[in-house]
Every structure is written in structure tokens, then in C-alpha cells.
Amino acid sequence: MGLDFVGQGAAETDGNIITTTIDKVVNWGRKNSLWPMPFGTACCAIEMMATLASKFDLSRFGSEAIRFSPRQSDLLIVSGRISIKMMPVLKRIYDQMPDPKWVISMGACASCGGVFDTYTLIQGVDQFIPVDVYIPGCPPRPEDLIDAVLQVQQKITSGASPKGVESVYE
């Protein structure tokens, strides 16, 4: 399950008691139940939907509880082109998510504007919100998104702070 034991109580107590630290238990819980806030604005969102559906099944990794309210989520998946009119909305949604929160920038467009080097497109959402994991590809395959979620999980297990919330574990 990914919960590291700190003490060695297992042998002495027939495995009925384990000792660990609060941080580890909390992180273990967080990691296995990330609630994503989908921000799908273009074709990448189609792959995100496929990731969530039965064939790829993101719920195997505990992240199937998609919330359409940012106040109930801790993982923002930006999948698609973000225009200059949409960016303030995205920023507002990010701000509404409770800490700690993680951000995945999915696809070339969200990460750097992709092929749309035009007047209306944000050339990378990381100019305005902190991004934890970038996914390359146009569009990335669902496996790539799953991999990104696993990377976020790894980050949580390691105790590292999310990009945007540097002080949360201090």
C-alpha cells in the first residue's frame, strides 16, 4: 500500500500494531485518494475522459473521484489550450482549491502553447500557476496521464511540497 513502517512493532505484537509518523499516514491517505479537478478545454480532454473511463480506469490508482468543484479537489488537470480569456478563470479555480494541491499540465498546448503560437493563446500555464508535472504529447496517451498521476503520488509519498505550496510541510 506504500505505507512505510518506521518501528518494528510487527514482530513483537503479532502485526497488530504499527508505528509510523503522522506525516506518513496523512501522505499515504492523500496519495491514494487524489480528487482531480478536470479543466478540459480542448482535444486533450478527450484523452483525459478515456483515462477516467473503464478501459484505462484511473480509479485503479484512487483518482476516479472527479470533482467539478475546485473546493473539493486537490489535483488540477489542465488539459487543453488556455486562451487569454480563459486564463483568469483557470487562475480563479486554482486559487479556490484547498491546500495542499497539485497541478498537472497535460499536453503541448497547456505546457507551452503547442502549435498555437498566436495572439490569443497562453504560451504555457506555468507562467501564471505553479505546475508540478508536465505531460508532453499532442495529445498524450491515457497511459501518459496515468504516469503523471503516479508521479504526483510519488511526490506526495516523498514528502515534497507541491510546487505552489512550498510551506505546507514546514
Binding site: K85, P88, Y119, I122
Partner: protein, 182 residues
């Protein structure tokens, strides 16, 4: 052999016949493009002609498919053709009475960017004209709500004009989060 090569003269489309009979002075040019009749109309009579096209029982172009514009400022020959009119407002019409498609073009000069709104004829023109205003800066007189529809309200300029730089004028790097009503 020679008879076989001869192309049979198509009968003149009804819409051209009727326009020539009723609005000959408004008709600047006529053309045909891949089976669609194209007519260029003088701006002063644009509303009257469009109204005629819609209400005439035989023509009955009741469906306004699209309203858009073309910036010809980088096509000298096009500009010359209609007395240096930079823009061409394009109405795409469809008739269910068997007349099919019709494209109506109206030259608009840069120094007078207003043209009558056709929202009174086709309700659907509302958002189409807003888009044309947003992208080209054409002012539709009598439009009930002529605001930008695609770009943010505080956007400067009209991005589909040929003199608008593709990468913009720095809008995508600097914009005000507070100013926009989120």
C-alpha cells in the same frame, strides 16, 4: 466530335434574373463559385436587397448560414475592383425553396466601417455580426448588442485584420487578472 465537346449553356439562375429585374442598380458584380451564385451588392442598398432575397416568395432565402468578412488589404487587385474597399462583408444564404445557396458580398470602405445590421431579418445574425465586429471591426448599425463575442472585453484591436500581428501585441504575456470580470 465537336458537338460532344460543346458545353450546354446552363439556364441563368432565377436569383440573378430577379435581381437584374428589381435591383439592377445595386448589383456591382455577379459570379459563380463551385455551384454557388455569388453577387456583389452596393452597401447603400445592401439591406433592401437582403430583405428582398428573404421575403420574395420564389427566392425565400430564409436561412442565414453565416456572416463574416474578408480583409483584402493585401490583395491589390481585389481592392481596385471595388473602388479600394478594404473589407468585404459576406452573407451566406440558403433557400429551402429549391434555390439552394447564395453568397452576397458587400464592399466596405475603411473610412466608413458601418453597415446596416440584418438582425431584423434573421435573428441568427446577432452573434455572427458580433463575431465580425470583434474580428474585423465592422460596425453593424442597429445591432441590439454589438459587443465583442470571442476576445476579452478589454481587448484592443481586431485580430483577423491583416495588419494585426499573428503573435499579438503582447496581450498573452501581460494581462490584468483583476480587470477581467471572472
Amino acid at each position: 466530335m465537336s458537338e460532344e465537346n460543346q458545353v450546354e449553356e446552363e439556364p441563368k439562375p432565377l436569383v440573378l434574373e430577379k435581381l437584374e429585374a428589381n435591383h439592377a442598380d445595386a448589383l456591382l458584380a455577379q459570379d459563380e463559385s463551385r455551384g454557388t451564385v455569388v453577387v456583389v451588392i452596393h452597401k447603400a442598398q445592401a439591406y433592401a436587397v437582403l430583405e428582398y432575397l428573404k421575403t420574395d416568395p420564389e427566392l425565400a432565402y430564409t436561412f442565414l448560414v453565416d456572416v463574416t468578412a474578408v480583409d483584402n488589404s493585401q490583395m491589390e487587385s481585389e481592392l481596385m475592383q471595388f473602388d479600394y474597399a478594404r473589407f468585404m462583408v459576406v452573407y451566406q444564404l440558403y433557400s429551402y425553396q429549391g434555390q439552394g445557396r447564395l453568397r452576397v458580398k458587400v464592399p466596405v470602405h475603411e473610412n466608413d466601417l458601418s453597415i446596416p445590421s440584418v438582425t431584423g431579418l434573421w435573428q441568427g445574425a446577432n452573434w455572427l455580426e458580433r463575431e465580425t465586429y470583434d474580428m474585423f471591426g465592422i460596425n453593424f448599425d442597429g445591432h441590439p448588442d454589438l459587443r465583442r463575442i470571442l476576445m476579452p472585453d478589454d481587448f484592443d484591436g481586431h485580430p483577423l485584420r491583416k495588419d494585426y500581428p499573428l503573435r499579438g501585441r503582447g496581450e498573452r504575456e501581460r494581462f490584468n487578472f483583476d480587470k477581467q470580470n471572472v
